[in-house]
């Protein structure tokens, strides 16, 4: 019971940090572009693409997770790139969606 209480308290604390998407990124990040099949995507398009890829890829195995802080998300997406054999474009688009 104590372990459950500890974990639930930890979750409640972490959840406040995790449930909300991160604040808008720095201007450097906001002005960035990524490629998609030879064409360029701006941040808004990358987020839209990321949302699509997020539901298609992550939903294959589990429920859609809540958003974590950006630096945490970068690690988790790298982990999932290896674990779920995500493509590089999937990883970039999902990371952009999950951190903005």
């Amino acid at each position: 019971m104590a372990a459950w209480a500890f974990l639930l308290c930890g979750a409640a604390g972490a959840q406040q940090q995790e449930t909300r998407p991160a604040a808008p990124q720095s201007s450097a990040a906001a002005s960035t572009e990524a490629t998609n099949g030879g064409g360029k995507l701006d941040d808004a398009e990358l987020r839209t693409e990321g949302e699509k890829r997020f539901h298609a890829n992550c939903g294959r195995c589990h429920q859609a997770p809540q958003k974590f802080p950006p630096r945490m998300m970068a690690t988790i997406v790298r982990h999932m790139r290896v674990r779920a054999t995500l493509t590089e474009k999937d990883m970039q688009a999902i990371l952009a969606y999950m951190t903005q």
Binding site: A30, K52, R71, A74, I76, E88
Partner: protein, 366 residues
């Protein structure tokens, strides 16, 4: 003779080296042009996660209490490296005849402890102890907070082997092969390991799959050759589909080896489209799974069982899960197992699963 074999060996090494250069270095030039600056700005931080659950199972009327804790640690190093490890602490507490209460021992295991190097967009190299990439269940669906039904598929013994993990090296990756078509693969070699809590068999194998993100459909196949004892081959196929208009997951696997063959088919439906009690229904998931396992009678006769079974076994299960959040849920299921010679029994499960993930460091932007 020795000089000849050395010269052939040297030539072989040169060929391998040339192949590795082509495999790892050449694509980097192309990959660099695809790198996204926005994602590169985010410096990853180590992550510690705990997945835990308490599952009570009634098998043929006998209760089993199953507490389980699975710690996971991810340590990114630089832009290309990742150290990842997961362990399991679990127990199966059951009543013992003639003594009060529930008794059982604590079991611990290192599920994986691997170093990953993302060489380029096509190849990731993993070394260490890794989950056997055969089919989809062992590597992707096994964690307690992911699996929709808490009982293992009957064919898990074929696809994951005795230990569910290998010790050695693996090449893996996923990449686009055409617009809307992704290819993923994993090829591995495992050495025999007798290290306590980190055992593995000597084996080699691969898995390959094609994923269509548009219709959300994946199909693939796996093969493994055991390089010890009976030197048996195993192969299998997997299928996943999440049809776009429905909150429905369809998954299936087939596996065959010298021990026997079998399959499972599972569907999981989230009731978010039910027009009544929407706030409650959107948290509810109903699951159904059908599976069969056919033993090789020769193996049963020689060894007493085949992948843990003494006779052909069928099982049907239905379950209801309630998601308080994506990482915290109530799970329950009822299953009926059919096997000759008194193997018919009801299997009930009920429990809770939970996962927490915490950064080990600051969660800001570089």
């Amino acid at each position: 003779m020795r000089s000849i074999s050395l010269s052939v060996g040297r030539r072989g090494w040169l060929r391998i080296a040339a192949g590795l250069i082509v495999l790892f270095v050449a694509p980097v030039v192309h990959a660099q042009s695809d790198a996204s600056d926005s994602t590169a700005l985010i410096k990853p931080v180590p992550v510690f996660s705990v997945q835990t659950g308490f599952i009570t199972t009634f098998e043929g009327g006998t209760p089993h209490l199953g507490p389980l804790v699975t710690p996971l640690l991810l340590v990114p190093v630089g832009d290309k490296w990742l150290i990842e490890t997961r362990g399991t602490l679990e127990s199966d507490l059951a009543p013992q005849p003639g003594s009060p209460g529930f008794k059982g021992s604590l079991e611990s295991n290192v599920d994986y402890l691997q170093l990953d190097y993302i060489a380029n967009k096509y190849v990731t190299v993993s070394v260490g102890r890794y989950l056997t990439p055969f089919g989809i269940y062992n590597e992707r669906l096994y964690p307690i907070f992911i699996r929709d039904l808490q009982t293992d598929p009957l064919i898990l013994g074929i696809e994951a082997g005795e230990y569910g993990a290998g010790t050695g090296a693996m090449l893996r990756g996923g990449f686009d092969v055409a617009q809307g078509v992704e290819f993923n693969y994993a090829a591995y070699f495992s050495a025999n390991s007798t290290v306590e809590h980190m055992e593995s068999d000597r084996a080699a194998g691969f898995r390959a799959g094609v994923f269509l993100p548009g219709p959300r459909l994946e199909v693939g196949g796996s093969f493994q050759h055991l390089l010890q004892e009976e030197r048996k081959n195993s192969f299998g196929f997997h299928f996943e589909w999440q049809p776009m208009p429905l909150p429905l997951d369809l998954r299936a696997e087939y596996a065959r080896s010298y021990d026997g063959s079998g399959y499972w088919i599972e569907s999981a439906y989230k009731l978010s489209q039910v027009p009544v009690w929407r706030n409650t229904m959107r948290h509810v998931q109903v699951v159904a799974r059908m599976q069969q396992f056919f033993v090789n009678p020769e193996v049963v006769e020689e060894e007493g069982d085949a992948a843990g079974f003494t006779a052909n076994t069928n099982m049907f299960e239905i379950g209801v899960n309630y998601y308080f959040r994506d990482d915290f849920r109530f799970v329950s299921s009822y299953g009926r197992q059919f096997a000759p010679q008194g193997g018919n029994e009801n299997v009930w499960t009920i429990g809770m699963t939970y996962r927490v993930a915490l950064p080990v460091g600051h969660g800001d932007i570089r």
